[in-house]
Symmetry: C2
Subunit: 410 residues, 2 copies
């Protein structure tokens, strides 16, 4: 969808393990920071979209997550819409908020992504991922497997939570092996993605991991699902990111002289496509470029959904940053490293900045906004004028459940 929503302010927490803090503490920190960044008061906010994926399963806070967070800073009366799209919940909040502002329905709104995954009971943390697949289908499949094995004992339910975490990485690993077979992508190239993002993350004070890793260290780490080692898989984490979007009129009133704009944002669901059909990623990419009036060659930076290092290589390809099959080569050539032609995941990405599920999509917009405003410190991309954020979520089989791609310009 073609859009025109101006980013008036951004704020986020450090991503990581905040065992002692709750959803309210984390979420409100990001909102207060974004308001301060915008120079606005909370009474300026006319509506809020709040993305969260797993608080229902992890903390028990379902239903009214946004209201509970906003009330903790005394904010009420405004419309609050709690949105969910698994790992794409944060970008869904931004997409909806931007659409409403672009359509002239509001002048000043909040998009918040927030997640609290660390829990004293680790099973609760892992249960967060169990709801992001077709649960009825998985249960039926499990029952059928148990029946065909003739096994009586052992419940799939209670022990399943931990397994489902690796199920996601199993899906990634199978796709990785197919890509290696077909295009000659190597384990070294996968490790280069993590090494690059660790370099970027080392310069980001809000990243969960700030140590730099070499390709050799990444390859030598424990194997999660062949060929993906642990640092090739994003960690779980807690965190929040907030984006305040305003209309052209409000931006003028605020005296914003060099506005960062969301010019296009596309949200799509996955579908049961054949091998030669376009995936939701390809469909969304071509749509978002057309509506933004730019192509991949016009971008100066990209934040994308590297839930695994192979996820980044796949995204290079469906975003058109390189020809199909050449994603491994793109990172190996240094194109996507800071200083290269098109730096990708300057924040450190999901792999190193961290991946508090519902916060991730909003945090990508925070990174791109700060880059376009030239305030990213040592990881600044010089002269960046156009950036793209890509966030995917959930799994429906051959495709993700939700895909959101957004283009920002200054």
């Amino acid at each position: 969808m073609k859009m025109n929503a101006i980013v008036a302010g951004v704020g986020m927490t450090k991503f990581g393990k905040h065992l002692e803090r709750g959803l309210k503490s984390i979420g409100s920190e990001a909102v207060v920071a974004a308001l301060a960044d915008a120079g606005l008061s909370q009474d300026d906010l006319q509506a809020a979209w709040v993305g969260n994926a797993a608080a229902g399963l992890v903390t028990g806070q379902e239903c009214i997550r946004g209201q509970v967070i906003l009330r903790s800073i005394g904010l009420g009366r405004l419309p609050v819409i709690n949105v969910e799209n698994a790992c794409a919940s944060g970008s869904t909040a931004v997409n909806q908020a931007a659409a409403m502002v672009s359509a002239g329905l509001y002048d000043c709104v909040l998009a918040l992504g927030v997640e609290k995954l660390y829990h004293e009971d680790k099973r609760k943390s892992f249960s967060a991922f169990s709801g992001a697949v077709d649960v009825e289908f998985v249960q039926e499949m499990m029952a059928a497997l148990q029946q065909s094995a003739g096994a009586g004992g052992g419940s799939a339910g209670a022990s399943g939570a931990g397994e489902k975490r690796s199920m996601f990485m199993d899906i990634y690993a199978a796709a990785t092996r197919a890509h290696m077979d077909r295009y000659g992508t190597t384990a070294e190239q996968l490790a280069m993605v993590t090494a690059k993002n660790s370099l970027h993350g080392s310069m980001n004070p809000r990243a969960q991991f700030r140590d730099r890793m070499t390709v050799e260290e990444v390859l030598a780490a424990p194997m999660i699902a062949e060929p993906l080692t642990r640092p090739m898989c994003s960690p779980i984490g807690d965190g929040a990111a907030a984006v305040i979007l305003v209309s052209e009129k409000k931006a003028r009133e605020m005296g914003i002289t060099k506005p960062v704009r969301i010019v296009s944002s596309v949200l799509r669901s996955g579908w049961d496509h054949g091998y030669d059909d376009p995936s939701s990623g390809e469909l969304s990419a071509s749509e978002v470029y057309a509506e933004a009036g730019v192509g991949p060659e016009d971008l100066q930076l990209v934040e994308l959904h590297d839930a695994s290092s192979f996820g980044e290589i796949m995204a290079y390809e469906y975003l058109g940053l390189c020809p199909k099959g050449q994603g491994g080569k793109l990172v190996a050539d240094g194109v996507t490293t800071l200083g290269g032609r098109l730096p990708v995941n300057t924040s450190g990405g999901l792999l190193r900045k961290g991946h508090p599920v519902g916060a991730t999509g909003a945090a990508q917009v925070v990174e791109i906004t700060e880059q376009l405003q030239g305030r990213s410190g040592e990881r600044q991309v010089a002269g960046a004028r156009v950036g793209l954020a890509q966030n995917g979520g959930g799994n429906l089989g051959v495709d993700v459940a939700a895909m959101c791609i957004t283009v920002l310009k200054v």
Copy 2:
């Protein structure tokens, strides 16, 4: 918000106990019915908002509820936004879908409300309500209570689920007693609400309860929370309701000659207001009337959130259907009974049609649409031209968490 979205089709399941059916089966039945009612194909849908409150806690299906339901009928690629606002999740889906169509962003969209509360494990059903309050606050309160009581044994967590169901009715009961003290509202008047809605529900083939109850029977039923007896409290249930909304342009192409329109819909969060401040209900009512260009005197029917029979009396007052304190008298005078001046809850309401939480707000729009189209059979309100739907959800203390009021006209 002033709106102009035309209801092209509606569909819903029977509300009740569907122990053998899952979220996909229930949700897709409503969608297929609404498409058939509109004479549209699923490929006509450009976006979908799906409201659900508790599948994460009851069935484990979090994150991508809408995609999983729509995929079961082969529908993908379109944007799907999963929204949540406790008992107001369904109306939130309608509100967002209507806003987007009214703003010209889409020509044909789906709003679906769906809920699956019955579970073989009853604790799971009751856990649905535990997420609709400020969970951190409740946990802190429980911990403080246990500490001050010096009690060591017994975990509040595991046993708390059942108690929290009655906590909602305790909140209602305390407000009811205050109203009785202040305004002389009687237990008989509360029972009259249920008796009236049971009469209406007896004429609704999709209602969960179809038996008629007398005032005496309602009063003689088991007490849930003084003065609320069981039939004065809405039941839990399973069900789904779908609404297809189209633009003026699309309605013309479809040859719709007598369109039912959403002309105004207001969504607001609750706030920590003082006794003399307007509640979210009062704020929303005055806004929705102003934007629809109508007043309470222009309505011919109302569907409102009778989660308890006192909830209906309260809503009479903040919707301006009678002066403050006169809600009990309004039902006693027969004004809100079919055949009276302003029939309320002709569907049977939450008390008798049932209350599958996330479906309720969408089901209210189904009832009003069918009434305005003159196809409500023996419960038809003759010559109805303007109807209002009011749906509230969650609790934040002195106010609900979410309030949504929508006006429809033919």
